[in-house]
Symmetry: D2
Subunit: 388 residues, 4 copies
């Protein structure tokens, strides 16, 4: 007997759409599951957006009041895709209502908010998930499997980064994304993914020393109604100061003894979405980049035949985790949105089984602790222990 899980989605921007689409895809992509998502209600402060999302994704109803989603008796789990500034308040309300939740990343605008959300969830005993979607690429999961089986040997060092150009235009408006008071900059937005990926693949980070910089120090002050970071002003608009970091770089130690370098930047003229890792071990190495999410570079130490030593390029296919839920062939790409389907499936599986999955608020908390240590190191100009 298939169990139905009533879902409410709060916030119908891009991520709200992606999550709604993902839930809707589960009955298709994971049709053999013992549960079925029911898209009960969606919320957005802008009524037209909420209404459009209802039609587009097939929610039973919509609202402009996010509290109505939580209060809805047919909603068992809540998906939080509202602006980051509202995450803490919503997360608290959801957990107080004893409902499970998937919160899009970053859980908090700063580590402290994430810690508060995590505490709230822990106290309430609800199940949580976080939108660290890059984890879910089949070849990333395959990399994880290889590493956990010890096939790379002992991990020696890890390189992770996220290079993105969404803020590369110096005339991009001074939106909330660029204001320290509204939260972290690149450390929150981009490096959080990098830290989480490093944790998943190489284990806990224990020590850090970090650097940061603002490369575009002033931006045009947004005109009313044009505040998103994708809009562009003119070069002679009045300007205000960017107050959070464009760039962050970090040296890290892992609990395992491995070393690492992490880096993120939001003003790249070059790569589009270079969310990538490169991992070296005593028996081999592995590389992946979101821009080619359907490929994995893999190399084994080949003592027997050094003439045939080299990186092998794997293409995503049915022998890799989850791929067969999307197509049965080799060389047919999965897309970005498919990662969100896997994410949603894993969250609902956790809900159906009552077992907390990964990544949940626990993993977001782990990221937050690393972020805190990074921020401390910016001031101390020295190495900082994570969680100390």
């Amino acid at each position: 007997m298939t169990r139905t899980i009533g879902i409410g989605v709060i916030g119908m921007g891009w991520m709200g759409e992606v999550h709604s689409r993902a839930y809707r895809a589960i009955q298709d992509r994971f049709h053999e599951s013992a549960f079925l998502p029911r898209l009960v209600i969606c919320a957005d402060a802008v009524e037209a957006r909420a209404q459009a999302a209802q039609q587009r994704f097939g929610f039973e109803r919509y609202t402009t009041d996010w509290r109505a989603v939580i209060a809805d008796p047919e909603v068992e789990v809540i998906n939080v895709a509202a602006p980051n500034s509202m995450h803490l308040e919503i997360n608290r309300a959801v957990t107080q209502a004893g409902k499970h939740l998937l919160c899009e990343k970053p859980v908090g605008r700063d580590p402290e908010e994430t810690i508060l959300s995590a505490a709230a969830a822990r106290e309430a005993g609800v199940l949580t998930a976080v939108g660290y979607n890059y984890r879910w690429a089949p070849l990333v999961q395959y990399a994880r499997k290889l590493i956990s089986e010890g096939q790379l040997g002992r991990i020696t060092h890890y390189h992770g980064r996220f290079l993105n150009g969404y803020a590369a235009d110096p005339n991009g408006f001074l939106s909330w994304r660029f204001e320290q008071e509204q939260g972290l900059g690149t450390l929150g937005d981009l490096l959080s993914h990098v830290i989480d990926m490093a944790h998943m693949l190489a284990g806990p980070i224990t020590r850090v020393t970090s650097d940061k910089e603002i490369f575009i120090r002033q931006r045009p002050i947004p005109q009313p109604g044009k505040g998103t970071h994708y809009d562009v002003g003119s070069s002679d608009s009045p300007k205000g100061d960017v107050t959070n970091e464009d760039y962050v770089s970090t040296l890290v130690h892992f609990a395992s003894g491995a070393r690492g370098m992490l880096e993120a930047c939001r003003i790249i003229n070059g790569a589009k979405c270079d969310m990538s890792f490169e991992i070296h071990g005593t028996k081999g190495a592995i590389k992946w980049n979101m821009e080619r999410m359907n490929e994995l570079q893999l190399q084994w130490r080949n003592d027997a035949n050094p003439a045939q030593d080299g990186y092998t390029t794997l293409l995503s296919g049915p022998a890799h985790p989850y791929h067969q839920h999307f197509n049965p062939a080799w060389g047919l790409n999965l897309g970005y949105d498919d990662l969100k389907v896997i994410e949603a499936y894993n969250f609902l599986s956790a809900v159906a089984s009552g077992q907390q999955g990964e990544p949940g608020f626990k993993e977001a908390l782990d990221v937050a602790h690393v972020q805190q240590a990074i921020i401390r190191s910016w001031t101390s100009q020295s190495w900082e222990s994570v969680g100390a």
Copy 2:
């Protein structure tokens, strides 16, 4: 006022699923459209499969009788994803019923069947579409745009191919795919895509000379219930003869005066889905490969600064056709199934507007004529004119 288009899907194998999924995605991906697909009924000879598909994709009903789909008064358009051997009969019945249809490729098992289907559609005056899905990659459409604008100059030569390994295992069963009586081999299955792509990008092919070969001459005779080409026998199973081509290569002339080479093979140990083209013109060159469907290689003749001459790698993004319907970012991959959504959208747009779109049976007919000329050249050992 949104117009609703009632859809019936015949055949619920992989392609039937992909098409059903695609229709279902239109209200999301193309939510601003003036029409809305309604998934009325699906059919499969295996009842369990039809029933499962109904649940999975949300059809209103299912049937084991494909004629019931055609007869259904709420079905306005039919999607034919049945086995190739049934295409002609179904296509005839659909067109006789005056309904529009999308037929998965190959329309016919051989060119003659395609010609008959095309004639039936033409006589009935119905709108048609064919599943040449690789056309729909945003960067392929972008390549088409560049070429049609003359940005590559005059096309000099075209290289197209499809290398696939689905039949690479010599112990893969002797399914219908390997029997001449059941239709063409690689010429029908793989080279049809290559021919259609060449037609779209470089215009009509007018002359050909071709070669073919069977590299794996015998295969295990399938045991009852294990007849698909993905199943594998043991090397000591009784074997039968493969009677259609594993490999086909062709030199071609285009009406424009351009020259070309086309090639396809189904027993590749190497590439997974190397459905690719490489086009040279008097001002530049362009390359694309399905294995990296989100990338396009582009080069301009750079007389002004030869030091900066080279192939540029474009990543699919919102400035390319259709991409923004899937995500608003650069560097976030689309997947294979997304191409089918674009295909379905274009088909339904044609239906909604009453205007025949591309690729329809007309384009399949063009492919069939090239296939016929290729087959003639196998016998004549000489160049053959297309359509003569």
Copy 3:
């Protein structure tokens, strides 16, 4: 006791320089050899060029009369790098003098000249070599080894090509390279390399059908003293007709039963020196491109673990043939000129041992026979047997 081999080089253009440099490098790169080249004399019709070459490469003397090179009693072997139009006459004189010779490719301007040169050498019983230099890349030699050991299984099909842009500028002068009376166009210049490589890697070609085209039909008539194909006229210069082929494409059968496609073009706006091959076999595949001559793509059929199936990129290193003569490390590139050193070494090794090596005039003759069949097929519009 090291044997000294007296060398004369005829023609001190680019290739004459490259060959002279190569001989000079042997005492370094192959210092353990039992022979030592002695650069006796160089010749060029332009005295200043001959004199400059003497100083640059350390010849003992120079001459403007190529016959003096042949007559020189201290010259044991002759290196022919004169204009193609002089090859036959020089080759005949060399062989009549009973001296061994390395002739830069193409040996003849057309197949008939090559046949005559080959006959002359055979009758005289001298040792010969031909400048098919791409053979000598360490990773090409390694590919040859893998194939000959059967590691790719039975070769099924071969793709070879040479895309070059040396004549891409439509205002490049109408030099001798573009005149049929002066010899073949792309078939001689570029496809000869492709044919030779195919012969080496996949064995003799037995049947062909081919196409050709002139894409740039007129070019500026050269002004006196500006006749090389690298010089460029203005677009309003008086023009004359190009009379030999810019482009050639060919389908081939190999004696082994393998099939193939060969292609060459000299007016490419794109690749710079895409002299490449791609070989498929029943157990794997292999790819190489001169533009990345220090890399080889290699794939094995991986039944045991399809999840790790993919092309492996090898970098040239000391485990590959000849590499260690240039450096002892992995990942340190060899250069183009190094291939000529290996070529010269192999020629002199043959001379020292008295054993004819490969590629000699025999291999050039094999290429010529394929070229003849290609030319016949241009007229017959049909398949032609090689050597028939």
Copy 4:
């Protein structure tokens, strides 16, 4: 009138050979120069090696006493390729003799030795050069030119690294390379190249914080006569401790305000010679990797046409610095040794003109100061100013 420069080479290991070969090539590759190298004398403690080198490269004489090289009145410039442990003593003797010198890197086993060598050269007023050969790839020089012209805009951050596997085998002997007393580990051997490249391309580094690790903590104690780091012991040999770093990572600030990450490791199972940089600026980005030294990745911010935004892959050709001295064509690779020819040419040009060139001991000193700051940061666990 061509000036002759008498050269002595001390140390005839691999680097001594490469340098000797390079000098010998100058009269060919830079034949239009106003100077001519004269290979006067070579020295090696092992007489057979010195003698072999004499024959191989054409030195007029050889010696086993390096002081004899310095004392030789016909030697004007000295090339130091002796073991690192002898550099300081030799450099001092050379400069005291008032002769110019090229010292292979690292100039000193530790920064202090480099500082002493630099001081000696400065006091003596001799001209110096250092073997930071990667600088000399034509496309690296081209990158330098683009950056210095401001074509990348203001540099924001720099990523440089050197991943090499020469010590990847855990059974590689515990040679001098692994002993702190014999000098730095990876910081000296590999990161020195990375620092120098960063200095050349992005200007002086002013602050650093760094990490290091020994990943293979014990290695087999070398047996007599088998002490090089390329030899391999058995896993049950007696072992001793590795006392210098396998791995070093560093965050850096440049004087320009740019930020950076530098990394090096000698125990890589993966890349072979990934000596690479990636530079981001406000107008574009640039990438280069020694493994593909004939390619450069270049991207411009493309506001006018984001659809055509992407990395362009340049191939080394005659429009790039120095390339035409090696061949006149596009797409024909230069090799590693060619970089040493350019290095030697630039050194001798400096000698001929009496003008100190780059990189000289001044640039090695700059590297040493960064290394000192890195070492201090290992202890202080904090940021350190360079040269403070």
